[in-house]
Symmetry: C2
Subunit: 439 residues, 2 copies
C-alpha cells in the first residue's frame, strides 16, 4: 500500500510506531500529485520543496511533543487564509495576494501537527457555480462539484487524506458525493470561521473531506467539538437503531442514481436490523429553498460591495447582481426569510431528534458531464440554513459507475453522535452499496 | 476654527471648495494628537509621516475623481485589519502582527477617499471589560468605555472626526455616551464584518463614531445602506412624530444621570410637539440579558480556541473561561438562547415599527471613575442581540458635568429613517439637554 493512499488515521498510526516518516509520506503524496495533477487539476498552489521542508521539521519533533494530527497532509480550499501561501479566492482581484495570516482552522490544524500541503481550487469566492479547471478523478469529463472543487477532487484522488472546504449552499456535501468520499458539514459556528472568506454569515460553514469517518472524528477531536452527552463508548450498532428516510421537498429533482441509492441504502439498513421510517416535513419547510436563496442573495449585497467598488469588471455577473440587488429583494422579504429559517431550526431539531439520523439525498445524481457547472445544491441548502450537521456517506453507484452518496442529518450539536452512527452506516453502504473505489 | 475640530461633513465641504488641503487638515489633526495623546492615550498605532504622505497623495487626485469621503480622517479600532498598519487586538499573542489585508470596511473607506489615520485601543479582542490605558477626554480619571475605547475617546477629543468600532455587547454605544458623541450601530450584517476579529458571529456588529448625524449619514451612503423606502426628502420634524420611551428590563440599574436624561429627553421632545408614549416590553424580553450572555459565552468557545491552543497563558482568564466552558453551558441552553433571541427579532420590529424610534438608555450613567473597567453593557446587549439599529445621541449632563447620551432604536433595516429622526432629535437634545462640549 502506497503511503499516499492511507487515511489520516492510518498514517498517524504509522508515524507513531515509527514505520513511516512524515518526509517519506509527504514524498509519496507529492509523487501521487505529480502523477495525477495534470489530469485532475485540483491545486492552485503547492510548493513541493516547502512541503518537504515542513515534513522534515515535523519529523524532528520528539514523539512526546507531537500533536494528534502529526504529519497528516491537509489540502485547503483557497478561500481560507494561510500565512505561508497565497489566498486568491479564484478572483482576478486577489491574484497573487498572500497576506500573512492563518484562518482559525489553520492555526488549530498546525497546532495539532498537520502538514498543510497547499491550496485547492474553488469557484469564485466559493459563491458561484462556474466550474473549471478541476476534473472529477473518477471521470475526467465530469465536474468534481463545487464550490470546494479541488478539495473534493484531491481527497477522492488520493492526493491528500484530508481537505478543508466550506458550504453556503451545498459546497461540501455535493463534491463529497461526486468524488466518492466522506464529508462533514458540522453544526454552524461550532468551529470558528475566522479567516474564511465570507459569503453569507448565517449560512457559511466550514467543511471537512476525508476517506473515512475515523478521520472526521480525528478532526472534530482537534476542533474540540462536543455534544451535550458523549456518544456511548461501544461502537454504534445499526441493529435496532431508528432512521428516518426523507425524500425532501426537492424530491422531484432526484435522478435515477439518487432514487436507487435511497432505496438500496434504506434496504441495507433494514437488512441489518434497523428500523427505517419514511417521513415528510411539515409544509412550512417547503419555503426553505426559496428562503435560503433570498438570504444568500441579500447577504451577498454587503459582502461583495468592496470588490464591486474596487473592480466591478473583475467580478462575475452573478455577484455583481447580488450587490446591485438584481432580484429586487426588499428588506421585508430578506427578514421574512431570515426569521423564517430561524424559526424552523428548533423544529427540525425536534423532528430529527426522534431518530439516529435522517437519511436524505446529497445530490440530484452522479456528477454531471462537463466542467462548466459544478452542479446543483438543491438537496443541501435546506440543511445549511437549518445549521444541522450533515455527513455525506459514499457507497452507491450511478450512471457509468460513478459514485453517489447519501446525507445523514442530525439535530444541531449532535455532530459526535452523527459521526458515531455514520461509521456503522458507512461500513454497510461502502461494503454493499455497489460502488468500489477504483482510482 | 481649527481644522481638527471640523466634522467630516464640514471638512469635505472645505476640500471641495478648495479652502483646505488634506495635507493641512492632516497636520492639524496630528497637532491635536501631539497635544493630547499623552493624556488621552487613544492610539495604539499612528505613523505621522505616513499620514502626511497619504494626505499628499489624496491632494494630488483631481477633483473629478475624488470619493465622497475624500480626505476625511478615520481612526480604526485595532480589531479591524488594515493592510498598511499592525493589527494586534490588544493581545500579546498578536504583538507586532501586521498581515497585509484590509477589512471590507477599510477597503470601502479607502475607495471612498478616506484618510486612514491609525489604530485605536480596544479591550483584549474587543471581548473583555478590562480597560486602560485610554482615558476619557472629558475627565482623565474616568474610563472612555469599551471595548472601542480609543475610537470613542479620539472622536470625543477632536483627534479624529470619524472612528470605526465594533459592538458585541455595548462596545460602540457605551463609549459614545461616555465621550459625548454620536454613534451608529447599524442593523446586524447590513455592512460587511469581513476582516473584523470575531467574538460572536450572531452578535458582532461594526459601529461608527462621529460628532454629527450628517457624518453618520455620509458613512452609510458610502456603505450603500438602504431601507426599503428612502426617508422623505424634507428634513424630519419632531412635531407630531411619535416616540416610545422604554425604560427596559434593566431599569433598576439606571443611575441618576440616566434617569434624569430620560426625563429631560422625553420632555424636550414633547415640548417640540412630539407624542411620547411610555411602553413596556412583553415579559419574554426579560430573558434577553441572560440569553445574550449565554450566546456570547458559548460563541467564545470556538472563537478563542486557536489562541487558547497557541498560548493559553497569554489569554485573559475571562476568555480562557469561554473556551473551557467555565459556566458549564449546555448545547441545549445555548440553542434555547440562540433561538429565543431569533424569535424576538420580528417581535421587536413590530413593536418598534409603531414609532419613529424607541428612546432607551445608552448606559447606566456617566463614565465611571477609574480605568480598570470599561463599564457595563446592560442597556445595550439586548439591542445587539435583536440586530436593530441604534444611535447614541449626546446632549445630557450627569455627575461632574460629564456627558451622557440616550439610545434611539428602530426596526431592522430602518437605519436611514432612524438617522433622519436622530438628526432632529439630536439638534434639540444637544441644544437644550444641558451638556456642552468643552474639550
Amino acid at each position: 500500500m502506497e503511503p499516499y493512499s492511507l487515511t489520516a488515521t492510518q498514517a498517524v498510526a504509522k508515524f507513531k510506531d515509527g514505520s513511516l516518516t512524515v518526509e517519506n509520506y509527504a514524498k509519496s503524496l507529492l509523487s501521487r500529485i505529480d502523477q495525477r495533477d495534470s489530469a485532475v487539476k485540483g491545486w492552485v498552489y503547492l510548493d513541493r520543496d516547502y512541503v518537504i521542508e515542513q515534513a522534515r521539521a515535523l519529523d524532528r519533533i520528539p514523539h512526546a511533543n507531537r500533536g494528534p494530527l502529526h504529519g497528516v497532509g491537509v489540502a485547503v480550499k483557497d478561500v481560507i487564509y494561510t500565512k505561508d501561501m497565497p489566498t486568491q479566492f479564484n478572483s482576478p482581484i486577489y491574484e497573487g495576494d498572500a497576506p500573512k495570516v492563518d484562518a482559525a482552522s489553520i492555526t488549530i490544524l498546525r497546532q495539532a501537527g498537520a502538514l498543510i500541503l497547499g491550496k485547492t481550487t474553488t469557484t469564485e469566492f466559493a459563491s458561484t457555480l462556474r466550474g473549471g479547471p478541476t476534473c472529477n478523478p473518477h471521470d475526467l469529463k465530469r465536474t468534481p462539484g463545487g464550490s470546494s472543487s479541488g478539495s473534493g477532487a484531491v481527497v477522492g484522488d488520493l492526493q491528500a487524506p484530508i481537505a478543508l472546504g466550506t458550504q453556503t449552499g451545498g459546497s461540501t456535501i455535493r463534491p463529497a458525493s461526486f468524488n466518492g468520499i466522506y464529508a462533514l458539514k458540522p453544526t454552524w459556528n461550532s468551529i470558528s470561521r475566522e479567516g474564511q472568506k465570507m459569503y453569507s454569515l448565517i449560512l457559511d460553514t466550514i467543511g471537512f473531506f476525508a476517506r473515512s469517518v475515523e478521520d472526521l472524528e480525528l478532526l472534530v477531536d482537534v476542533f474540540a467539538l462536543e455534544d451535550d452527552e458523549s456518544p456511548p463508548q461501544e461502537p454504534f450498532s445499526v441493529k435496532r437503531a431508528k432512521f428516518a428516510v426523507l425524500k425532501s421537498p426537492m424530491w422531484s429533482q432526484a435522478g435515477p442514481g439518487t432514487v436507487a441509492a435511497m432505496e438500496v441504502g434504506a434496504k441495507l439498513l433494514r437488512d441489518h436490523g434497523a428500523e427505517v421510517e419514511e417521513i415528510e416535513l411539515p409544509a412550512e419547510f417547503d419555503k426553505m429553498q426559496e428562503w435560503h436563496e433570498t438570504v444568500m442573495h441579500s447577504d451577498g449585497r454587503p459582502t461583495f460591495l468592496p470588490e464591486y467598488q474596487v473592480a466591478k469588471d473583475k467580478l462575475q455577473a452573478f455577484l455583481v447582481g447580488h450587490v446591485e440587488n438584481e432580484k429586487r429583494l426588499t428588506r421585508a422579504e430578506q427578514l421574512k426569510a431570515f426569521d423564517g429559517i430561524a424559526a424552523l431550526r428548533p423544529r427540525i431539531d425536534e423532528i430529527a431528534g426522534k431518530y439516529t439520523a435522517i437519511i436524505t439525498p446529497s445530490v440530484r445524481d452522479v456528477a454531471p458531464l462537463g466542467l462548466d457547472s459544478t452542479g446543483s445544491a438543491v438537496f443541501n441548502s435546506m440543511w445549511t440554513g437549518l445549521h444541522t450537521p450533515v455527513v455525506n456517506i459514499p457507497g452507491f453507484k450511478g450512471e457509468d459507475g460513478m459514485p453517489i452518496g447519501l446525507s445523514l442529518v442530525a439535530p444541531r450539536y449532535r455532530d459526535r453522535h452523527l459521526l458515531a452512527a455514520s461509521k456503522a452506516v458507512g461500513d454497510i453502504w461502502e461494503q454493499k452499496g455497489g460502488w468500489k473505489r477504483t482510482v
